[in-house]
Amino acid sequence: MIQFDAVHKRFPNGTTAVHDLSLEMPEGGVTVLVGSSGCGKTTTLRMINRMIDPTSGVIKVGGKDVTRQDAAELRRSIGYVIQQSGLFPHRTVLDNIATVPLLLGHGRKKARARAAELLETVGLAADAGKRYPHQLSGGQQQRVGVARALAADPPVLLMDEPFGAVDPVVRTQLQDELLRLQKELNKTIVFVTHDIDEAVRLGDRIAIFRTGGHLVQCAAPAELLARPADDFVADFLGAERGLKLLSLKTLADVPQGPAPEGGSWTLVLDEARKPLRWAAKDAEIPVRPLRDGDSLLAALDESVASPTGLITRVDADGVLTGVSSRDDIHIHAGRAHAEARSHTVTEAAA
């Protein structure tokens, strides 16, 4: 666990980057620090591994005050994924990943073996290890950055806008990979971004910062979206925050029935009973089948696009299991909102 207790950071030029911050980042969870530029989120992150030291207040990692530890040794025990990867251009991918194990004196052979293992963990081919960073794509470089941070198996991982410089498609892939990795590894992750959608996707908890280094609200994504603390948070979450809340809920509980027959629109299936398209007498519309793990937001989107207001549901193999109506989706969407609101109330009462 990472604890901030009344932490204040004022830079020599007089600007206050972080103002009286008290915050706990739970063990094994992803805490996302979010806010516009200059709000102190990156400074907060960098105080954890002493890239910056606080002006006053105490920061503890695993119960130990960070300023009482040797800075270099502390940093080796904390993974750090830097903006735009920050890889060493003169070292091969494998040696980049092996950086911290080598600093810890693990020996070149052992460090490289561990690095090769991590290549696979982050989804890179083994032959990428012999290459130099400039020979990889931006997305691959980010993966190497993550592998390098994981190399010494640190309990804490700091990520400073790690996916900011890659295109949206690759960013989504990298986010998925991170969520998959996190399920396996259970690290305590602190993640800085200015992208609220990224925060909602990745965070177990989201801390929203306002200019001047003020923490405005720290809560689980659903709670934040349902009950923003003030107008600033509401504005930051955006006009579609109701829809964003739906992105956190899955479709699994929404009831489904058999596909309609004899109406003006028919669902066309292939031999394996996989949905192909909606067809009418003189029109065809593509269908996007959804699985139980897909979000209510995706379901709502599809129900609006579908001519019948129905979404088609499939199992893991893509075989049709049934359809759900727009009304059922709406009812569940409303229920999700009510639930998020009531959770907030009970937590506040407790």
């Binding site: 080796r76 060493f88 070292r91």
Partner: protein, 213 residues
Amino acid sequence: MSVDWSWIGDHTDDLTSLTFSHLQAALTAVFFGLLISLPLAVVAHRIRPLRGFLLGLSNVLFTIPSIAIFVLLLPISGLTRTTTVIGLTVYTLVVLLRNTVEGLDSVPAKTKEAAKAMGTRPLRTLLTVELPLALPVIMAGVRIATVMSISLVSVATYIGDGGLGQLFTDGFQRDFPTPVIVGVVLTLLLAVVADAALVGLQYVLTPWKRRRA
């Protein structure tokens, strides 16, 4: 002006030893130049106020006429190889110091920050990250300093050294052009070969620069 080929044939041993002596003087000067430039460049790179002073000093040293340097050194090191090397070393500083400082400046801040964030201490960062990344710019300086030193060695003929430069005085004194021509050609060849060797060395030392994607 014709070349007396038989003179060359009769003096191959002398020519060989003069060539090696010439090369040795130049390379020794570059070696000591680097030895002095590296720590000074690190200081100039890290401590801003000292940068102007150190670079300015190397410029001023460069403007001292070479003969004057040798004369000034005579009471200290006499008519020796040491005097030659010290003189040449002073001249290499102007290129080596400037290029090493610029090389260190060229290392991306992001990369240094990554090294720090991984838990690398400053000295190790300098040796394993900053200097390797500065190498292409430093090597550009080493190449200039080497070629410059090879051409300057001849001046030390005035103090009885000077490698191939001795061929020039020999030729002038006897009004016999062959040694002068041979001296010029050998000096040029030496410069070209040394430069090519340094290009090769840089290729070996910077594997990451080779296969551009």
